[in-house]
Amino acid sequence: MPGKFVVSLTCAKDNTDNATVAFVVANAAVASDKEAVVFLSTEGTRLSQKGYADDVHEEGFAPLKDLMKNFAEAGGKIYVCSPCFKKRGLDENNLVAGAVVVGGAKLVEFMGEACPSVSY
């Protein structure tokens, strides 16, 4: 059943529970044949940096870095909010697999007229 799916994530180490569950659900979407995007904005943009999530491991879940790696390997994309990224002085040369820094127009284009989404 083809289609698109967006997981919007505004948290990083300020709420590792939300960050973890967001990628668990994103993995469910991409594993279900959806063209899946995780949209990182505000604090969530910190997850775009290699190494940042290495020490995040919520009890009962796989380590966050593994969830992110699996998502990218399955074809999932990570859109990183450009102004949020710049505000935090993050490094565009240190992006995790699957991540690309985008403006809002790219997200709007991807979502089109009818795209389910869930927010964390």
């Binding site: 059943m1 993995n27 699996n70």
Partner: protein, 80 residues
């Protein structure tokens, strides 16, 4: 062609659930189009989630045994 459930491949998913379960399941089924995988999934959500996932992805749930928490899933042919 009949499928022997006794000789099919088996994967014990343990307590994996939600996205962690189905992304690993997808990896395994992609490697075996047309064949049946016996999945043992202990999480209480699996009897709801796995049939839904099979419907979403056109993989056939050919048998479910609640007693052993086992699912026999036939991998679709046309993985892209």
């Amino acid at each position: 062609m009949s499928t022997s459930f006794e000789t099919c491949e088996e994967w014990n998913a343990g307590d994996l659930a939600c996205g962690e379960l189905v992304i690993e399941l997808r990896k395994k089924l992609r490697q075996m189009p047309g064949r049946v995988l016996k999945v043992i999934a202990l999480d209480s959500s699996a009897p709801i989630d796995l049939p839904a996932w099979c419907r979403l992805t056109n993989n056939e749930l050919v048998r479910y045994d609640a007693g052993t928490k086992s699912f026999w899933i036939k991998s679709r042919i046309n993985w892209s």
